[in-house]
Symmetry: C2
Subunit: 279 residues, 2 copies
């Protein structure tokens, strides 16, 4: 059962959505996106997603064709039309359709595409944890923009999967940045460490929520880069993201992290996160 799509201002079946071969999203990846979590039929933390969407749009000078409240209304209608209770809502804006030429086109209207997917919470992975592989981070220097240029993420994830692991942990010359589609935090001597929200990582909504929960729980947090060595010697490691929520990393490159199972800080944050989403 396919999703009903929102394509520009119309609600369409997947088969009815026809992207122009001149869409700049198609030939340049010239566009931006967000993935919202839907719990109990409601968008989770829409404000944080809209903040990031607008920040990326400003960075790329892509003019969003509608304001936040008009967009929110459309997205809530999309969730309703799809009778989505638990899942994700994907939305992307491209710079529109125009003859292929690098500079911003003068005439093109940005193009909006959105749809929903039923996705259950990752209960098994949150319980058992995942195995990860370290992969060199070769991305561009604006990883804070959530854009459609995702080839390096595709290649890193594929490399991790082919190695029999669940995800890639990216590092630049030994400094851990994030994963292929989530942020990573470690716990050492009771302190939560995570890469600062600069240009080298995507500023995750779940990352922000988890840091807020950690502060509320009076857990020590340091936003500073950490090395592969610190990761491998950590007491705990976990990833945060819209679909993975708070998922323990129990091994990296075949080596157990901490006890090789989710640690107490991870468990605490998982409980607090479940409470935050009203479960």
């Amino acid at each position: 059962m396919g999703s009903i799509y929102l394509y520009n201002n119309r609600f369409l079946s997947a088969e009815e959505v026809a992207i122009s071969p001149e869409d700049r999203g198609y030939y340049y990846g010239d566009g931006i996106y967000e993935v919202f979590r839907v719990y109990n039929g409601r968008l989770f933390e829409p404000g944080l997603h809209f903040d990031r969407l607008e920040r990326t749009a400003a960075g790329l000078r892509l003019n969003l064709p509608m304001d936040r409240s008009a967009l929110l209304e459309k997205l809530e209608e999309l969730v309703l039309r799809n009778r989505l209770n638990e899942g994700t809502l994907y939305i992307q804006f491209t710079r529109g359709a125009a003859p292929r030429s690098l500079p911003f086109p003068k005439e093109a209207e940005p193009s909006l595409m959105a749809y929903t997917t039923e996705v259950a919470r990752p209960v098994a992975a949150m319980e058992a944890g995942i195995r990860a592989k370290t992969v060199e981070d070769i991305r561009w220097l604006h990883c804070d923009y959530k854009t459609l240029n995702l080839l390096p993420n595709v290649l890193a994830k594929q490399e991790a999967v082919e190695a029999g692991t669940d995800d890639a942990i990216l590092h630049r010359g030994g400094t851990v940045t994030e994963c292929s589609a989530s942020n990573i935090m470690i716990v050492r001597d009771g302190v939560i460490l995570t890469h600062p929200a600069d240009n080298l990582i995507l500023h995750g909504v779940t990352r922000a929520v988890v840091l807020r929960l950690a502060h509320a729980a009076e857990l020590a947090v340091l936003e500073r880069p950490f090395t592969l060595e610190e990761l491998l010697g950590a007491d705990e490691a976990f990833i945060t993201g819209t679909t993975v929520e708070v998922t323990p990393v129990v091994s990296v490159d075949g080596q157990a992290i901490g006890s090789g199972a989710a640690g107490p800080v991870t468990r605490r944050l998982q409980r607090d996160f479940a409470a935050a989403i009203g479960l």
Copy 2:
């Protein structure tokens, strides 16, 4: 008058080409491309373009759906159907349509899209030269792959255009790499310098042709990185590319290069290039 498109195995009008919203080219930029030059109704240096297409495909593990000779036949038919005498042929392959998920999809078939554009040789720019602006190169570390992840190129070109110049010269911390869609060479003390064909630049077909011509003309060539300072102090500078051919760069960041007009090495290579394309 729009081009007839080649879309997978069919020849279609632009209006008939409907890209799936689940095409990985659309949401990840997960695809590769080439731009061929057409002179006198014939593809220029098709072998070099196919070499690069196959190299990029291998790097991204994208299985091309047809071999070189079958593809060449299709492209020649596309040129004929469009009655194209002078212009470009654009072709891209994406990893195909599949539900959005980072790893390579198991079922998807790569998707091919190609069309032609009438483009005259850039006679005025080749004569008068272009002005350029230096822009920090923030791209990923596989610039040798010719992929659809072109947002940094879009942003660099836009920055150059808004500064009232014609193109961006990219540099990594002061080391010149290339331009937004072409390679760059400078001449110092009679020696042609250009960045080596490593992972930091696109290995231009015109770059290769021009180096071949330089060797044939017994001009001294050094493939080594050069700095912004060496560029600004150069006797000559020129860019090479499929649509720009050999175009002089007469000023950078408002400062004249050499005499502020095309120099003798540039002129020589322009003449030899014109001869190479049979003009």
